[in-house]
């Protein structure tokens, strides 16, 4: 064995030549604070193996030393904590983590160090930690569970740790459409892609690896006249020449979802979820680059070519570092130019395993023994083994392993029963291959058992899906190429593309297997599920205790429930259970796979919807102006609204809000009310439509007038309130509350399209088009006269309370409504939102001499509470018109939505809670929204609960806290005393029940 002398010190197990690594690009990295080196093209696992590292982590429960088992995403053992600080990630499989310069990784689940781990004492207590341990051991006393057992177990058992810091990287989501999606870029997938692409189909190929080729990278194969990787290069080059072909590497298709594909039809697509690890192979993402990207792929056809997963045997000590899957061993040799050991034995029951021995021998590694459980194998294998001088033991088994820090000896039980020890540092094992069929079961398909392969193969497939190659149980290279080409061509042809199946020449290699799951009579712990430390004995306990179905086996032992989801363990566990309960594997069945196929970071699902971008934010046209004025903003649904405009020197929000309220009551204020919903209602039957929507009559509303309206839901409760203006014959504009705007629009569209399609009514949401400002206060008219000039006549005779008009103003179409939420003389001016910014500035300019004050949502609330006007807190979906004092608005002269259901006894019960005012006896006593009302002296119990405060405010005019409340039988209780009880935030307050209008009950100020 020749080694590169320069690298040999750092990389003792690296071959001098070969491999798909870039020797010109050496990389340095750290593992557990030691420096190592590798090459571009390495995984962390291959670089660690090259560096002679055998022990990578400690196991979940028993803290046993574990090394690298596989060379793929199915890895259960070699999990590390990758990177540092906020970017660190737990449970990263070293077998898929690409090496980059400066990478740092730590072993997991060990303390104080990987070599000397205190937790490994758990092994001594192993008899206690068996299946059902949690269920049985900590039943009593109950209180000890939370305080003692759980924290202790959580500390001892477990894998990596979260950083507990915000992820500094960006994630994004994207969509991809194609005719044919190909999952897996191995020989079958590439053949399928080329067939479909040559026919002109839009093709997407995804592979979780960072190099295309699948097994061709790990095996030494020939296709046509060249090597397997040459073929991959040629095919990929041709594919990249097609404009409509996309090859996504580092991309795992993790789930199959809904779709509309029907067999025999070219219509419809099916949805797949995939995650692309865009920058996981870089120290940190490039500028503007996401760390990962979640693809939602909509495909008309899909070819699954996801390959197969090699399965281990269950025998004593099978988890010792140095025991590796046979195909993984030759992948490390061929792809990474790394020999995992110097003295290697093979334990197999499948022809394919022998290839690993031959490949190792080809690079000069001595094969200590080839142990095949079968008593007969193909003569060609025996001949080849002679050529490499490897001793062969047929009908033999490995029944034990030894080595504290890693394998140093195996015990072989020969066919005659004699035990023989062999000093080896690596044992390659191959129990056969399981087709990687997870994606065929996500929509409910059940796998079928193949006796000849001793494996499950895909059963019924989702419409539009076909499976090719090893994923289908076709393990020969020639078969994979043939099936892939046929599947790709067939998928494209079904969609109308003309294509043929390309053909290549590759030899059909041997692939015989005899089922063997657990090695009887082996010594030591025999692991089924490496990651969850589930042993053959645990499966036996489950069988003995009656947990015999695959689903119960899984949950009782946690077999297959680790982050690897049982990729290497599921079938072994099921086969052992089948044998224990005298059933066949197919009779026992298999658990189904669910998405995701491999773990996906939550950040990828969140994408850019993170932090304040979780939801969109809506801004009014006056936002920039309000910001300039120093407004404090508050979220109101999706909208951001000005809460108040603090003036210099003001000490508290209450001081600011009180100033704003007084300005409106005594002078004039302006408020941006653009967020209220505005719905344009037109048509010959618009008036009739409104009559049916609102409880009160609208067909009598004259053009140029506005009316307050109340609408109910179908179930009789109040939906929303607002004003509707009659702008022109057959043309109305309805206003809704900000909170219910979308809901009301849906309600109206439902009524128009579904309930009364015969009515001639047209609806359009015009909320976005109009910026609207309320100008309120005794001086409001003077401001508007200055602003609007002769564009509109504003004297009270021409434009009285509840008038509306649309008119031209400064070249714009403007609208004016004389409506009032504050109870003062007030107008709302609407202009196209493009001019909203200019309009609010013009209003402020015209109002300057009159002392106009901008006011925010908080002052708006105080003003409306003083007037007893209801808002979102009262229109909360539980109140009836009568509850809110609107009983008389239910017209008896017409039908309307909700009329019948509003008559239900529960909705007309006199004991219902109704709207009242609440005023504390001590005006300075603060009321809190949500506080409950109790009879004085009554205990704070549910039985004594009389109602609750819906809205509260400090009224600067009354110089008192005031509140609106929903109070049981409230209508007849004016003047009564009541206790306001707030166990969450403060002491109780004694208060008086008053009418829910605190200010100007006669409404004289509307004309003032």
């Amino acid at each position: 064995m020749s080694r590169n002398s320069a690298a040999s010190a750092a990389q003792p197990n690296r071959l001098a030549n070969g491999g798909l690594i870039e020797r010109a690009r050496p990389l340095s990295f750290r593992f557990d604070a030691r420096a190592y080196s590798g090459f571009a093209g390495d995984t962390l696992a291959s670089a660690l193996l090259a560096g002679g590292v055998r022990r990578v982590g400690r196991s979940f429960k028993y803290h046993r030393s574990r090394g690298v088992l596989t060379a793929g995403s199915e890895e259960p053992n070699a999990l590390v904590q990758l990177r540092h600080g906020a970017r660190q990630e737990a449970n990263t499989r070293a077998t898929v983590a690409e090496l980059f310069e400066g990478l740092s990784a730590r072993s997991q689940n060990c303390w104080p160090s990987l070599a000397f781990d205190l937790g490994s004492i758990n092994s001594l207590f192993a008899p206690l930690l068996v299946a059902g341990f949690y269920y049985k051991t900590f039943m009593w006393p109950k209180a000890w569970w939370e305080k003692l057992y759980e924290p202790a177990i959580r500390r001892a058992a477990g894998l990596g740790r979260a950083s507990l810091q915000a992820d500094p990287d960006r994630y994004e989501k994207a969509h991809l459409f194609c005719d044919v999606l190909i999952i897996g870029a191995g020989p079958a997938g590439l053949a399928a892609a080329l067939a479909a692409a040559r026919g002109g189909a839009r093709v997407v190929i995804c592979d979780e690896d960072f190099v295309p080729g699948g097994r061709l990278n790990g095996d030494r194969r020939a296709i046509g006249t060249g090597g397997g990787t040459d073929w991959v290069g040629e095919v990929v080059a041709e594919l990249m020449g097609f404009a409509d072909v996309r090859l996504l590497l580092r991309t795992t298709v993790f789930g199959v979802y809904d779709g509309s594909v029907r067999t025999g039809s070219t219509e419809g697509t099916r949805t797949f979820g995939a995650v692309e690890r865009v920058a996981d192979h870089l120290p940190e993402p490039l500028p503007h680059q996401p760390r990962q990207r979640l693809w939602k792929i909509m495909a008309r056809r899909v070819v699954l070519a996801a390959g197969a997963i090699e399965r281990p045997f269950v025998f004593g000590g099978n988890d010792r570092p140095g025991v590796m899957m046979a195909a993984a061993v030759r992948t490390y040799v061929n792809r990474f130019a790394v020999v995992p050991g110097k003295r290697v034995a093979l334990f197999t029951t499948c022809d394919d395993g022998w290839q690993s021995a031959f490949d190792l021998a080809a690079v000069g590694v001595a094969i200590e023994s080839i142990v095949d459980a079968r008593t007969e194998v193909a003569p060609s294998l025996l001949e080849a083994s002679k050529a490499i001088a490897a001793p062969v033991h047929l009908g033999a088994h490995v029944v034990g392993t030894r080595g504290a820090a890693g394998l140093n000896r195996i015990t072989i039980r020969q066919r005659d029963g004699a035990l023989r020890h062999a000093a080896v540092d690596t044992l390659a094992i191959c129990g056969g291959w399981n087709p990687n069929l997870a994606l065929t079961t996500h929509l409910g398909g059940r796998p079928l058992w193949s006796a000849s392969l001793a494996a499950f193969v895909p059963g019924e497939l989702p419409a539009g899906m076909s499976v090719a190659g090893a994923a289908r149980g076709t393990f020969s290279l020639a078969g994979c190429l043939r099936e892939g080409a046929a599947a790709g061509a067939a998928a494209a042809r079904e969609l109308g593309f003309r294509c043929e199946s390309p053909a290549w020449r590759a030899d059909d290699e041997l692939f015989a297997v005899a089922p063997l799951w657990v090695i009887a009579g082996s010594t030591g712990k025999a692991f089924v599920d490496f990651q969850h430390d589930v042993t053959a004995a645990d499966v036996e306990i489950a069988a003995r205790e009656g947990f015999r179905s695959v689903e119960l086996l899984k949950r009782y032992t946690t077999l297959g429930m680790a982050t690897d989801q049982g990729k290497t363990s599921g079938i072994n566990g099921q086969a052992i259970m089948a044998a224990l309960t005298q059933r066949s594997v197919p009779a026992l069945g298999t658990t189904t796979f669910r998405p995701p196929y491999t773990p996906v970071a939550i950040g990828a699902f969140a994408g850019t919807h993170r932090g304040k971008h979780l939801e969109p934010v809506r801004l009014t046209a006056g936002h920039a102006w309000a910001k300039e004025r120093g407004a404090t903003f508050i979220e109101s649904g999706e909208w951001l609204r000005a809460q108040w405009f603090a003036a210099p020197g003001e000490q508290s929000w209450l001081q600011t809000v009180s100033r704003e309220v007084k300005a409106v009551r005594r002078g004039v204020g302006v408020c941006d009310v653009s967020t209220l919903g505005k719905i344009d209602v037109q048509g010959a039957d618009a008036a009739q439509f409104l009559d049916r929507i609102y409880t009160n009559l609208f067909s009598s509303l004259a053009v140029g007038k506005v009316r307050y309206g109340l609408m109910l839901r179908e179930d009789g409760f109040v939906l929303d309130d607002g004003t509707t203006a009659h702008l022109a014959p057959g043309h109305y504009v309805m206003s809704t509350t900000t909170a219910h705007a979308a809901k009301v629009m849906r309600h109206l569209e439902h009524a128009r399209q579904v309930l009364w399609p015969e009515l001639d009514v047209q609806l359009a949401s015009v909320t976005e088009h109009w910026a609207q400002f309320a100008i309120a206060g005794p001086e409001a008219r003077r401001v508007l006269e200055q602003l609007l000039g002769d564009a509109i006549e504003l004297n009270d005779a021409a434009f009285p309370y509840m008038a509306c008009a649309q008119f031209a103003w400064r070249g714009l179409e403007a609208r004016l409504f004389r409506i009032s939420f504050s109870g003062e003389r007030a107008y709302e001016l609407a202009v196209p939102a493009d001019y909203g910014d200019a309009t609010i500035r013009a209003i402020m300019q015209c109002g300057e001499s009159l002392g106009i004050v901008p006011y925010g949502l908080e002052a708006l609330g105080v003003l409306r509470i003083e007037k007893g006007h209801v808002a979102g807190s009262e229109l909360n979906g539980t109140t009836t018109a009568a509850d809110l004092g609107f009983g008389r608005m239910l017209s008896a002269r017409k039908d309307f939505i909700g009329r019948a259901m509003a008559q239900r006894p529960g909705l007309t019960d006199p004991a219902r809670s109704v709207l009242v005012g609440i005023q504390p006896l001590d005006p300075a006593a603060r009321l809190r929204g949500g506080a409950h009302l109790l009879t004085p002296g009554g205990a704070p119990t549910l039985e004594n609960d009389q109602g609750y405060l819906t809205s509260v405010a400090f009224s600067p005019l009354l110089e008192s806290w005031i509140g609106l409340a929903l109070l049981a039988r409230g209508a007849g209780r004016m003047g009564e005393c009541i206790r306001v009880h707030d166990p969450l935030r403060g002491r109780d307050v004694d208060a008086r029940i008053v009418a829910p209008v605190f200010y100007d009950p006669q409404g004289l100020r509307l004309q003032g």
């Binding site: 994207a174 939602k296 850019t608 934010v617 801004l619 088009h769 400064r810 714009l812 493009d834 001019y835």
Partner: protein, 201 residues
């Protein structure tokens, strides 16, 4: 001062462009585009089609498509509902439509209701793939194609315009109040390709 015209402020005014040099995706603010929504009165869509044909010489689209040009274009957005766009002043468009169609259609001004961006550039489709869940491949979304869809919980309408020398061109109409949030979505999607204002030609 009552005679002086008010100045228009685009919903995209003052939005920050993160440093993303490059012309992979280019944009132009089209918020001055005049837009009206017309909805057919009961059983009047045939008359509307006839009037639109007679007056504008445009075949009124029935599927999600945009037909027309600079002065007026119709984008079908729902059953018997269209957005009508024009490069002319909003009042010209509205007066024209009301004069032509008032008897058969409800006409509402939406010129300020939408923030409109024109997107183009070599990588515009790749950026769109991160924004909208629809297929914008030339085969699936030819010139004149239109769609009402959603991005990041924002309802948007987009249509494909005539190609520019550097490739496909799309207009996206976003409800005005969402302009800032949409801008964030767009810039995060496009920054990787380079995102700059479209040069005036």
């Amino acid at each position: 001062m009552n005679d002086c015209r008010l100045s228009l402020r685009s919903p995209f005014a003052d939005l920050p462009i993160e440093a993303a040099p490059g012309r992979g995706v280019t944009f132009a603010d089209r918020s001055t585009l005049a837009i009206a929504r017309i909805v057919a009165r009961a059983n009047r869509s045939a008359e509307i089609a006839a009037r639109v044909q007679a007056i504008y010489g445009i075949e009124l689209p029935r599927e999600p498509r945009r037909v027309g040009g600079h002065d007026v274009a119709f984008v079908a957005v729902a059953t018997d509902a269209w957005l009508v766009t024009s490069e002319r002043r909003p009042d010209e468009l509205l007066n024209g439509l009301r004069g032509a169609l008032a008897e058969w259609a409800a006409v509402t001004d939406q010129s300020s209701g939408y923030a409109v961006l024109r997107l183009s550039g070599l990588h515009v489709r790749a950026a769109l793939a991160r924004i909208v869940p629809i297929d914008v491949h030339p085969r699936a979304f030819p010139i004149g194609a239109a769609a009402s869809t959603a991005t990041a919980h924002i309802a948007i309408t987009l249509w494909r315009c005539a190609d520019a020398p550097d490739g496909a061109v799309f207009d996206i109409a976003v409800p005005r109040s969402f302009a800032g949030s949409f801008w964030h979505v767009l810039t995060s999607a496009a920054a990787e390709f380079g995102f700059e204002p479209r040069a005036q030609r």
